[in-house]
């Protein structure tokens, strides 16, 4: 692919997105709810597309395609089990939405802090989110850098790629907060799905249609159609990968915060269903993309090369390769800008807001806006360390965030949950994940053959339950909170039981 072509594609992408970002500015964004939640008035279509763009990152067409290349159909199962897990939104979505409106929550950690009546809870949960999500963003930036340098044979350097991605993420999140993020996300989501589907269709066509495609796999790579297949997807490995991702919709604040934003329950429904359909198609596309590399280029040195090899091959016309490349970049940026915005809101609301008792909403907004580029630069510096292994690291972030899940479930379903329970659960579970991840990275050690996320969720659940039972729960708040949810829920989800 020529450098001129890449610059041209990039230029068109940047200009259109900047126009969309600029046009998205509406109303006065002078308070936290407006800037970070779009005044809780987001429409269904934009919510669904933006949720999709935020969730699906460069991981899909690079990492998931690579996983398919390395281990076959297990990659499909892994990603689809995640998608099925988004059904959690059908249960938690209305609850988040109801309490968000009633108590004015801007961040999920603020909700936990209020429900468990402890500012320390909000503080620690926010800190844990930052700890795991900044590396996750960095990995996305690294992905963009590698993509650019790989596709242009280094003519566009890794650092240039990372700088471009960082700058765009800052601009998209800064211009109008969630409004510019949601609108540019929507544009990028449409671009991601249309371009990748069209190109995968072309590949399938070239391989003799679906029957030719599957025949090649069945005859030449039969293992790629079964699990455990060649062993990459042994059952313990599969469990270790799927469990953290299954709870992604709850554990990752950049998506759980979205549950506060829809204008109505009907909009929330559109967001959920729209996302499920989007995710289903995009997953199939990414896996078929990986399979195409299996058929066309078996025996690559590393599965990370599957996507770059396909893009650089003559099988796909250069212009289409460039479009897929921009699509992958858009997937990365639309994830990073949402994370940036969410982390800034967490910092402003739950860290700064709790340290400074007199911080007004206006002051929090100022701090939030200031922090956006600061977090971006942190992620940028992290990215320059060139940590590859894209899929491994993003899964590690999910494992880390998983430790917040027991406390979130407790928020809505367990009156006895206490602040001490949350604190021990998040800190203890988080430490277990970090220690196990470090051991795995340095010595390939897997405790009893299971991934860190499994141990993280077990530790955090046990600590949450045991410590909560040993300490005092905020009974009055729990009673009031839960009975309000129950009454409103019956009204909103059309259930009279």
């Amino acid at each position: 692919m020529t450098v001129q072509l890449v610059w041209l594609g990039l230029g068109i992408y940047v200009v259109i997105s900047l126009i969309v970002a600029y046009l998205s500015r509406s109303g006065k964004q002078t308070n936290m709810t407006s800037y970070f939640l779009g005044d809780r008035k987001l429409g269904g279509f934009v919510s669904a597309l933006s949720y999709s763009a935020t969730t699906y990152s460069a991981f899909m067409l690079v990492g998931l395609a690579g996983l398919t290349y390395a281990g076959g159909v297990g990659a499909l199962g892994f990603e689809l089990i995640y998608l099925m897990g988004v059904s959690l939104v059908a249960f938690f979505g209305p609850r988040f939405w109801i309490v968000g409106k009633k108590y004015g929550y801007v961040t999920p950690s603020e909700m936990l802090g209020d429900r468990y009546q402890s500012k320390t809870v909000a503080f620690i949960v926010s800190l844990a989110s930052c700890l795991f999500l900044i590396p996750y963003s960095a990995v996305q930036l690294t992905g963009v850098g590698l993509l650019f340098s790989g596709m242009t044979n280094g003519e566009i350097s890794f650092v240039t790629g990372v700088i471009i991605a960082t700058a765009l993420a800052i601009i998209f999140s800064y211009v109008a907060g969630i409004r510019s993020v949601a609108w540019t996300d929507s544009l990028q989501a449409l671009f991601m799905i249309v371009s990748s589907t069209a190109i995968v269709m072309l590949l399938i066509y070239q391989m003799g249609g679906f029957s030719g495609f599957f025949q090649s796999l069945e005859n030449e790579h039969p293992q790629s159609l079964q699990v455990p297949g060649n062993g990459v997807f042994s059952f313990p490995a599969f469990l270790g990968m799927t469990i953290p991702w299954f709870f992604f919709a709850l554990s990752n604040p950049q998506v759980s915060q979205r549950l506060y934003m829809p204008a109505s329950m009907t909009t929330l429904r559109k967001m959920l269903i729209g996302f499920l359909v989007f995710g289903f198609i995009y997953t199939l596309v990414a896996v078929i993309w990986g399979y195409s590399a299996v058929i066309l280029y078996p025996g690559l040195e590393s599965s990370d090369l599957a996507t770059p090899t396909l893009l650089a091959s003559g099988v796909i016309p250069p212009v289409l390769s460039m479009i897929v490349m921009i699509g992958i970049m858009a997937a990365a940026i639309s994830t990073i800008d949402s994370i940036l915005l969410t982390l800034s809101s967490l910092f402003a609301r739950d860290i700064y807001g709790n340290l400074n008792k007199n911080a007004t909403d206006e002051a929090q907004l100022k701090v939030g806006k200031f922090v956006i580029p600061v977090i971006a630069i942190l992620a940028f510096l992290f990215a320059l360390l060139q940590l590859d292994l894209i899929s491994v690291l993003s899964i590690a972030s999910s494992a880390g965030l998983l430790v917040i899940v027991p406390s979130i479930i407790g928020t809505f379903f367990w009156k006895r949950g206490s602040a001490q329970g949350v604190i021990w659960s998040v800190v203890g579970g988080g430490l277990v994940v970090i220690i196990l991840e470090v051991l795995k990275y340095t010595t390939k050690f897997l405790f009893m053959g299971l991934a860190s996320g499994i141990w993280g969720i077990i530790t955090s659940t046990v600590l949450f339950v045991v410590i909560s039972l040993m300490t005092k729960a905020p009974e009055k708040k729990a009673e009031e909170f839960l009975s309000y949810v129950r009454t409103e829920l019956k009204h909103h989800i059309g259930d009279q039981s």
């Binding site: 159909v73 099925m84 059908a90 069945e218 079964q226 599969f238 929330l268 379903f413 989800i493 059309g494």
Partner: protein, 60 residues
């Protein structure tokens, strides 16, 4: 959890359980398109349809 929610939660949970069990048991030796690939696609389609039906009354 409301009564109607419990029913849906149980059904979805069972489908997801199948998504863990079937590919690693019944279909572990099937190296065809109608093996695990198809199973996962079908089970996901079922879950999406369940979500659509379950949320039908939202906001009404």
């Amino acid at each position: 959890m409301l009564k109607s929610e419990k029913k849906w939660a149980l059904i979805i949970f069972l489908v997801i359980l199948l998504a863990y069990i079937l590919p690693y048991t019944v279909f572990t030796d099937v190296t065809k398109w109608y093996g695990s690939f198809f199973v996962w696609v079908i089970l996901t389609s079922i879950v999406i349809v369940l979500n659509i039906i379950m949320t039908k009354g939202w906001g009404k």
